[in-house]
Subunit: 409 residues, 2 copies
C-alpha cells in the first residue's frame, strides 16, 4: 500500500431501534436509513437493533450496488440485531455470545431473549486487515438502581478479552456499537484500558453534532424524556473506538453525530443519534501505547473495581439460586404429599379426605407451576453463579499478570 | 531461546470420567491420577470430565509443588469439567461456550447441562508463547443413528474458528481433549483441515500403547463393551493436536497411551485411556503448510459436507420449533376456554358444567404443564434454528473465500 496519502475510511454507526410492532414508524425509518447509506456511500455501516431479518433484507436489497458485502449476525431467540454493510469484501465472521445477559423473567425488558453478543468481521481494505467488531451491551434501565450493572461489567470484560484474543492478526481494530455506558463508567474504562482502544469523539480533530457527542438527546422526538431526567442535555452511549496495530497508525479526522432529526428530514433515524467517523490510516512506526493495553495503576484499579462488582453480584446470585432450590423442593414435597393422599384414597384406605377434590387439584396445579418455574430459575442462577465465578477468577489472574508487569517495569 | 537442543515438552491428556455419585471408584482414581501426575512431572496436564470442583481442589492441593499453575474452567449448570495443571505460568485464559450442545430434554445424556466449551490458556515456556486449548465435544451415543451429529459438527466448526481467530499471537498451538470423533470423521477432517493442526498419533516418531492409538478399549474394565460392539478392538476419540506458527516447528517425538489399566495398578485411571505426547519445539524456517489451513479441494469438500449436515438439521429443528409452537398455542387455548367456563359459572350464568370440577381442574393442570414445557422447547428450538442458520451462513462465506483462494492459486 502506498501510504501517501493515507487511507481514509468513513464509518457509520447507529442503533436503529427497529423492533417490529413496537418501534414507531419503523418501516419509514428503515427506508430513510437505507436511502442515507446509499446516498452517502460510507465505507462501513455498523447497525444495531435491526431485529427483523426482513428489515435487513430490505436494506440489503437497496444497498447491494453501493455496499456489495453485508452480514447479519444471528443469535438468541430474537437475534443479535447486528448487521454490517461494507464496500469491501468480508473475509470471515465470528460471533461471541456474552455469557450473561439479564434475566429471563424480566419480560418487560426482554434483554435475555436477544442473545447479546459481539460480532467480528475481518475485512481487507487496500491490503490492510481490519478487524471490525460490532456489539450492543445490556441496557441500563435505571441508573440509580441498576440491576444489570454486574452483567454489563461482565459483558464489557468479555468484550475486552474477545477483542484482545482475536485481534492479534489485525492491522487496525474498529469497534462500533451501543455500549449502554457513559464515557466515564467502569465498563468503558475497563474496555478501553484493557484493549488500548481510542475514543473517536475524544480524539477527533473536528467534531460536529450534539453537545459532548451525546447520542441520546431530548431533541430526539422518539426519546423518552423521563429516562433522560438525570441528564437533561443527553448522554453518550454509542461509540466508534479504534486502534492501529503492527505499524499502522489510525487518526480520527472528524466525528459527526445527527442532532435529533435526520438531515433534511422531519423525523430522526432512530431514538439514538447516528455516529459517523472519518478515520485515516497510515503506515508508520509502531504506534506507541495504542497497540496494546495501557498497563498502569489505573488499569489495576478498574479491574479491581470490576471484580468487586462481580463478587457482590455473585453473592446475590448464590442467594437467589438457593432460594429457588428451596422453593422447588417445597413444591415437589407438596406434590408428593398430594400424590400419596390421592393414592391412599384410590386404594380405599379409610383416610378422611382433608380437602375438597377441587381445591386439592388447584393446589396441585399451583405446585406444578411453582416447581417448573423455580427449577428453571434454579438452573438459570446456577449458570449465572458459575459464569460470575469464572469471570472473577479470570480477573484475579489478569490482576496478577498486571501486577507482575507493573513491578517489572 | 537457544534452539539447540530443542525445547522438549511432555503433555498428558485424559478424560477422567469423574462424575460424582455415578462414576465407579472415582475418589480412588482421582487419587491415582494425582499420584501419577506428581511422580511423572509432565509439563502440562489437560484433564476433562473433572465435574466436581472438590476433585479439582484435591488434585490442586496434591500437585501444587510439581505444577504450581492450574486453572479450572467454569461454565454451564454442572461446569465444563476441564482443568489444566502446568509447570509454567498461565498468563491468561479465555472460554468459548459452544452455541449448540444437545437437548435439555435428553436428561439421560445430560450433555446440555454441561456447558461444553473450549478453554484457551496462554502459557509462556522458555520465551515461546503456547496457546493451549482444551475441549470436550458432544458425546456420540449411537453411531448408526447419531442424533447429536449436527451439533457436534457445529462444535467442531466453532472450535476450528475459535482456534484460528485466537491463535494469531501464538508460536505454538496445542489442542488436547476428548473430541468424541473417530480420526476419519467429518468433524475431525473439518477441524484439522481448517486449522492445519497435526495429529500426534499419526506423526509420532515412536508409539507405544493400544493398537491404532485407541483410547476407548475393551480391555478397560470401566468400558461398557456393548457400546464398543461395532468396534471390537476399540476407538480413538482422545487427541493431542499441534502446530507451530511464526517460525516455530513442532514435532512429536513419541506418543504413549495407557492400555486398559494404569501402569503398576489393578484398575484404569478412567474409562478412557490417557494420551501422553512428547513434543519437541525448535525455531526454524516458516513451517510450510502447518501455519494455516491447508487450502485444497478436500477442505472445500469437507466444509460442503458439514454444511449439508447443518442444513438437514436446520430443517428438522424448524419442524420441531413449529410443532412446539402449535402445541403451546393449543394448550393456551384450552386454558383460556377453561378460564372462560370457570368465570361464566362463577358469574352464575345458566350454562351447564360440561365436566365434573375435578376432571376440569386436572385438565387445567395438564394444559399448564404442556404450555410451560412446549413454550420452553419453542424457545430452545428457536435458538437452535438461529445458530444453525448462522453457522450455515458462516460456512457459505468460508466456502466462497476458499474458492476465491483456490482459483487464485
Amino acid at each position: 500500500m502506498d501510504t501517501d496519502p493515507p487511507l481514509q475510511l468513513r464509518v457509520f454507526d447507529l442503533n436503529c431501534w427497529a423492533i417490529r410492532y413496537l418501534s414507531k414508524v419503523r418501516q419509514e425509518r428503515i427506508g430513510m436509513i437505507g436511502d442515507t447509506l446509499s446516498q452517502e456511500g460510507f465505507d462501513l455501516a455498523l447497525l444495531q437493533e435491526v431485529w427483523s431479518e426482513r428489515d435487513y433484507c430490505e436494506l440489503k436489497q437497496k444497498l447491494t450496488a453501493c455496499y456489495p458485502y453485508s452480514h447479519y449476525f444471528k443469535s438468541g431467540v430474537i437475534g443479535s440485531g447486528f448487521c454490517v454493510f461494507s464496500r469491501y469484501p468480508i473475509l470471515d465472521t465470528f460471533l461471541y455470545q456474552y455469557s450473561l445477559n439479564g434475566y429471563p423473567y424480566m419480560l418487560q425488558h426482554g434483554d435475555w431473549f436477544c442473545g447479546k453478543a459481539v460480532g467480528l468481521l475481518i475485512i481487507k481494505i487496500c491490503g490492510i486487515i481490519f478487524h471490525v467488531y460490532v456489539t450492543h451491551l445490556l441496557a441500563e434501565y435505571c441508573r440509580d438502581k441498576d440491576a444489570y450493572l454486574p452483567h454489563r461489567v461482565v459483558q464489557a470484560w468479555e468484550l475486552a478479552q474477545f477483542i484482545q484474543h482475536t485481534s492479534k492478526g489485525a492491522d487496525v481494530v474498529l469497534l462500533g456499537g451501543d455500549l449502554n455506558m457513559h464515557p466515564g463508567d467502569m465498563g468503558i474504562r475497563l474496555l478501553r484500558g484493557w484493549t488500548g482502544l481510542r475514543d473517536s469523539f475524544a480524539d477527533a480533530d473536528r467534531f460536529e453534532g450534539c453537545e459532548d457527542g451525546y447520542t441520546l438527546v431530548p431533541a430526539n422526538c422518539f426519546t423518552v424524556n423521563k429516562e433522560l431526567q438525570p441528564f437533561p442535555l443527553g448522554i453518550r452511549i454509542d461509540y466508534i473506538l479504534y486502534k492501529g496495530l503492527s505499524r499502522f497508525v489510525v487518526k480520527c479526522d472528524s466525528l459527526v453525530t445527527t442532532t435529533g432529526t435526520a438531515p433534511g428530514k422531519s423525523i430522526p433515524y432512530s431514538d439514538h443519534e447516528a455516529v459517523i467517523a472519518t478515520l485515516s490510516v497510515r503506515r508508520g512506526e509502531e504506534a506507541k501505547g495504542s497497540s496494546g493495553s495501557n498497563v498502569g495503576p489505573e488499569l489495576v484499579d478498574v479491574v479491581n473495581e470490576a471484580r468487586t462488582e462481580v463478587r457482590a453480584r455473585l453473592h446475590a446470585a448464590e442467594c437467589q439460586r438457593d432460594s429457588n432450590g428451596r422453593m422447588a423442593s417445597l413444591a415437589l414435597l407438596l406434590l408428593l404429599l398430594q400424590a400419596a393422599m390421592g393414592l391412599s384414597s384410590l386404594a380405599g384406605w379409610d383416610t378422611p379426605q382433608p380437602f375438597p377434590k377441587f381445591s386439592s387439584s388447584l393446589l396441585s396445579l399451583l405446585a406444578t407451576v411453582v416447581l417448573l418455574l423455580s427449577m428453571g430459575l434454579y438452573i438459570f442462577h446456577t449458570i449465572e453463579v458459575r459464569m460470575l465465578q469464572g469471570t472473577e477468577e479470570q480477573m484475579r489472574l489478569a490482576l496478577q499478570a498486571l501486577q507482575d508487569k507493573l513491578s517489572s517495569m
